[in-house]
Structures are given as structure tokens and as C-alpha cells.
């Protein structure tokens, strides 16, 4: 059972690295934000996996139940999800403004335009 004992953590690491890969490899700002979201969700998954107790149930007190899973990671992640969507929407708002001023959301094109602007009229 050695592999199963750590299966959740390894999938979390895979998802985290997949998000990281999208973030550094992708050229499109929207896709980068989605990569960041995947990275973020993998952290959520890690916390919730840590909170699970064998034979436990959801942490809502009820008659005849002795083992509960750990409620603390649930609280931390619940609020993190809502804060996550708020910050994601801020990032998307920035992307919309970038689109309006550069007319592209491709990172390399934005850098090229910046370079042209820096070189200015003498170029």
C-alpha cells in the first residue's frame, strides 16, 4: 500500500507542476491565469487531503459519530477559494485593460510593442 499512501500527494504535485508549466510556457495571458488557477487548486487539494482522517466523517457534530476529519484545513481553503476568485477577477480585469491598450494578449507581441515604444522615434 506504499504507493496508495501517497497517491493523493503525488497527484497534487503533478497538478501543481502542470499549472506551473502552463504558467511559464504559455504565451497567452488568459491561459497563464488558468495555469495559476490549476496551481492554486492543487494547493487546496493538498490541504484537504491532509485533513482527511481514516474512518472519519464531515466535521458536523452528530449523535453516534466519534471520528471527524480535521476542520481547520477546510476553513482555510473555503475562504481561500473565495479570495481566489476575487484575485482572479482582478487579474482578468488587468488582461482586459492590456488588450485595450496593446490590442493583443500574447506576451511576446506585448514585449515587442514595448521594445518599439522604448526605442522611440530615432529607431
Amino acid at each position: 500500500m506504499m504507493t496508495l499512501e501517497h497517491y493523493n500527494y503525488w497527484v497534487v504535485i503533478f497538478l501543481m507542476m502542470a499549472g506551473f508549466y502552463i504558467l511559464i510556457d504559455s504565451n497567452n495571458l488568459i491561459k497563464k491565469i488558468i495555469g495559476l488557477n490549476i496551481f492554486q487548486t492543487s494547493v487546496f487539494m493538498l490541504y484537504i487531503s491532509l485533513g482527511k482522517v481514516a474512518g472519519g466523517t464531515a466535521p458536523i457534530a452528530a449523535e453516534g459519530i466519534k471520528t471527524y476529519s480535521n476542520p481547520l484545513p477546510h476553513v482555510l481553503i473555503l475562504t481561500a477559494i473565495v479570495v481566489g476568485i476575487a484575485t482572479t477577477s482582478l487579474a482578468l480585469a488587468l488582461v482586459i485593460r492590456i488588450k485595450e491598450s496593446y490590442d493583443t494578449v500574447q506576451e511576446n507581441e506585448i514585449l515587442e510593442l514595448d521594445q518599439i515604444a522604448d526605442e522611440g522615434p530615432q529607431a
Partner: protein
């Protein structure tokens, strides 16, 4: 964890892996956004299997609902395709990712086994919450006890972060209110969708109120309720029109209420200080400490719900009013 739950957990996690691989390989942003909705729904299912019902609730409403809608609104403005790059080098990022991943996997080998009740994480703080919160706070849902009472400071911080993000979005995009009067197109523009929406919206709102006020006893609370409430208005906006929705819930009113929600939360803390307790110490709110806890949690959860609902609606309005056409 019983065997069948472990099996479901493994299958769902594997589906998550396939979804992620598809997201990496695809180039159409529309498909990617849809897959990220699938990704969120799968994660919500995994959270249920891992006993985190409150978290699953939030993830399903936020990740699969609002996040997808906001992403779609954005790609409606910025374009649906990811352009192909010339001389695209994927070896360097892949190497970085593989090395980081290998280091992390090496780190997990020292970690205690998954679901073991004697893991360090389960030995501190958590026993206090699990054993004492039903008698100390007096409500069965331990997640709500911890969220609203034991760690009320944290939650207040989170609400303020949500509010601050709203200020950021509004200062970046603003909300363009159309001056024309609300349009009720005759005959209706999308009759089937509109009739179905009219049928569903009251139930969504009723459900959000249930989640709000029943959060002490079952899964739920202000964060989930706020998001679900805003989903009702988003559905109304998508099936009818932006003008109709803005006439129903005017953005300038929502802005006030978003701030009032934060004020209710902070105000509860100040009142408890005036009553001789610490900031956000509900025991002193009324004579009986248990009743005080109950009132305190109910009030601050209401503040949270109000702020979250208003913030989500305003952010949505800001995004769709930026596009040229109505969605």
C-alpha cells in the same frame, strides 16, 4: 478511508490529471475555459470524498459557476484563440518543471501516510475544535465555529481582501451603465431560456438564503450563500439583458451594500469591545455566552454573505459592461 471511497478518490484524481493534460495541449481558449469548469467540478467531488463538504460547496459554486462565466466574458473581449509561436522552446520550461516536481516528490517520501489519524496535523488545535466547539460555541458545524468564532480575525481579513479586489476591478474597468430604459423585448428574445430562468431564479435565491442561515447546522455559510445568490442574478442577466439586471439591482446600491457587509463584520467586533470583551469576542454580546456566540456568528455570516454577493455581482457587471454587445 473505506476501500470504495479510496477507489472513487483515485479515479476522480486520475480524471483530474487527464483534464489538466488536455488543458495544456489545447489551443482554443473556449475549450480550455470549459475544461477548467470541468476541473473545478471534479475537484468539488474529490472534496466531498475527503469529507470537506463546505469546501466542495464553495468550489462548485465559485469554480464551476462564477469563474467560468468571468473567463468567458474575458475571452469574449480578448479573443478565442491562443496564437501559435514561431521557434517555440518547450524544453527549458519542461526541465524546470520536472526538476521541481522531482524535488517535491522526494519531499513527500518523508510525509506521514495519507488519512493516518496520528499525523502531526491532527494532534494539535484540531482536537480542541472537534471536542469542545459543540459545547463551547454551541453549533454542530465545526467549520462554521472555526471560521466565524475561533478564527474570526482571519475571516475578517479574507472579507476585506474580497472587498479590496472589488475596488481594484472597479478602478480598472468601472461599470458602464447604459442610459436607455430597461428593455423588455416583445416577443421575448430567448423564450425557452427566459421561461426556465424565471422558474429557477426564485429557487436559487431561496436556496442561497437556506445556505446562509442554516450554515450553523449543516454545510454552508456566508461565503457560499453570497456566491449562490449572485449566480441567480447572473442567470437573470444572461437570459434577459444587462439593462434589465442593472435596473433590478442597481450597481450604485450594490456598492453601498458591499461596504456595509464589511462594516457589519467589523462593527460586531467593535460592539463586543464596548461590551467589555475582546475584538470579535461574541461571549459578551448578550448575557448567556452561548447565545452570544450564536448571535455573533449569525450576524457576521450575514455580513460576509452580503459583501460576497454584492462583490460577485459587481465584478460580473464590470466585466460584461466592458464588452460592446450584450452577452
Amino acid at each position: 478511508m473505506s476501500n470504495i471511497n479510496l477507489l472513487i478518490d483515485i479515479v476522480l484524481l486520475t480524471m483530474l490529471v487527464f483534464t489538466t493534460v488536455a488543458i495544456i495541449r489545447l489551443r482554443s481558449l473556449f475549450a480550455i475555459v470549459m475544461l477548467s469548469g470541468v476541473y473545478s467540478l471534479l475537484s468539488a467531488n474529490i472534496f466531498v470524498i475527503l469529507d470537506a463538504v463546505d469546501v466542495a460547496f464553495t468550489e462548485a459554486a465559485v469554480g464551476a459557476g462564477i469563474s467560468t462565466v468571468l473567463m468567458l466574458a474575458t475571452i469574449g473581449i480578448t479573443g478565442y484563440e491562443q496564437k501559435k509561436r514561431r521557434n517555440h522552446n518547450w524544453i527549458a520550461p519542461l526541465t524546470v518543471v520536472l526538476i521541481t516536481g522531482a524535488v517535491l516528490v522526494y519531499g513527500t517520501l518523508d510525509m506521514p501516510a495519507f488519512t493516518n489519524p496520528n499525523d502531526p496535523i491532527h494532534l494539535h488545535v484540531a482536537p480542541r475544535y472537534i471536542n469542545d466547539s459543540p459545547t463551547e460555541i454551541g453549533i454542530p458545524n465545526m467549520v462554521t465555529s472555526v471560521l466565524a468564532s475561533y478564527r474570526g480575525y482571519d475571516t475578517m481579513g479574507e472579507v476585506i481582501v474580497v472587498f479590496a479586489a472589488l475596488i481594484g476591478v472597479l478602478s480598472l474597468l468601472g461599470i458602464r451603465e447604459k442610459s436607455s430604459a430597461p428593455l423588455h423585448a416583445e416577443p421575448p428574445a430567448r423564450p425557452i431560456l427566459q421561461v426556465m430562468a424565471k422558474f429557477m431564479i426564485p429557487y436559487i435565491i431561496l436556496f442561497s438564503l437556506y445556505v446562509q442561515f442554516h450554515g450553523d447546522f449543516g454545510p454552508g455559510g456566508g461565503f457560499q450563500a453570497g456566491v449562490i445568490f449572485s449566480v441567480a442574478i447572473i442567470l437573470y442577466t444572461l437570459t434577459f439583458s444587462q439593462q434589465d439586471a442593472m435596473a433590478l439591482v442597481p450597481p450604485r446600491v450594490l456598492k453601498r451594500f458591499a461596504a456595509i457587509g464589511v462594516l457589519i463584520y467589523g462593527g460586531t467586533g467593535v460592539v463586543s469591545m464596548f461590551k467589555g470583551g475582546n475584538f470579535l469576542d461574541y461571549n459578551v454580546l448578550v448575557d448567556d455566552p452561548l447565545h452570544g456566540q450564536h448571535y455573533g456568528i449569525l450576524i457576521i455570516e450575514f455580513g460576509v454573505g452580503l459583501t460576497v454577493a454584492c462583490v460577485m455581482m459587481l465584478i460580473f457587471f464590470a466585466f460584461i459592461s466592458r464588452g460592446d454587445k450584450n452577452p
